[in-house]
Amino acid sequence: MLTKEFLSEKLSAGFPELKFEFSEFRDEITVKLSKSFIVTVCDYLKNTEGLQFNYLEDITAIDWARKKERFEVVYILFSIDLKQRLKVKVGVEEKDAKVDSVSVIWKAANWFERETYDMYGITFNDHPDLRRMYMPEEFQHHPLRKDYPLMGHPGDLSLPQK
């Protein structure tokens, strides 16, 4: 099973100058890092012996509303070969809500990032096709943000004429 010590050792061997925060909850490890290194770290996590996170289960985000770093983008990784799971988180500020796309590493990231963009308004740099996933193209808001009301604003979404 993946341990915090092993992961920390591996990551500091690959990136001696980078700072990682580790946390553990119910035997699942989360690592937090700066968003500017997400692509290189993900590449390392996928292609290093002993880690081999070759399956991207999901990408989503959290809106913390009041924190300085308002959003957190979460990557849930799984290694099919070693049967271990890892969550990777990066903090994103509201003013600069941009993260580099990891779709070059895992193709599955394409639609996950589109979904995250649709729901939270976080844009992904160098994404091949960043369109909305669920909401209509002309929709102006990002509904899973905490400041979007539950019932929406009247007239946000169009209805056919009666």
């Binding site: 669920y134 009301p149 539950l150 019932m151 929406g152 169009s158 209805l159 056919p160 009666k162």
Partner: protein, 168 residues
């Protein structure tokens, strides 16, 4: 006196065109199965052998709106889907009727949130609101009988000016 006995003694019956046309109309209501989510499963059960919608002359579920008289909207209608539902409704020839099956289509139901239309009567004329989440198959048959009753009260000339199809 039953119809057969009348025919045996007299050999003919008298009726009105209105009564005959509405009887023909209500005895063969062809539904458009707009099964969008879980209510669609109950709708399929009604079509199956146990509940057997064929007893009411409605077994011919047409998957083209151009041959339908009754639209059974079975399932949650989102704003995105509402345009599709309306487009299919518009393609049905007059006269036509609509059953809002289940609470989602009637009022939005438990989906009180931004993407779900809070009642399809915001964009469709609805004849029967059918409660339940989902409604039992016999409940849907009851709704169909209510539609038949409604059709039975129509007169042939009610629809003489109706266009064959509406286009939007």
């Amino acid at each position: 006196m039953g119809l057969e006995a009348k025919l045996q003694t007299d050999g003919f019956i008298t009726t009105t065109i209105d009564a005959m046309v509405s009887w023909a109309r209500k005895s063969a209501v062809w539904p458009m199965p707009m099964g969008i989510s879980c209510c669609g499963i109950e709708l399929m059960a009604v079509g199956g052998a146990k509940y057997d919608i064929a007893r009411f002359g409605s077994e011919v579920m047409r998957f083209t709106p151009r041959q339908c008289d009754l639209m059974i909207v079975a399932g949650t209608v989102t704003y995105k889907m509402s345009h599709v539902v309306r487009k299919i409704y518009d393609q049905m020839p007059d006269p036509k009727w609509v059953i809002a099956m289940g609470v989602c289509t009637s009022t939005g139901g438990m989906y009180r949130s931004y993407p779900v239309v809070q009642g399809i009567d915001q964009f469709l004329p609805v004849d029967i609101y059918l409660a339940g989440c989902p409604p039992r198959p016999d409940n849907l048959l009851n709704a169909l009988m209510m539609i038949q009753e409604k059709i039975g009260k129509t007169r042939a000339r009610d629809f003489q000016d109706a266009p064959l199809t509406e286009t939007n």
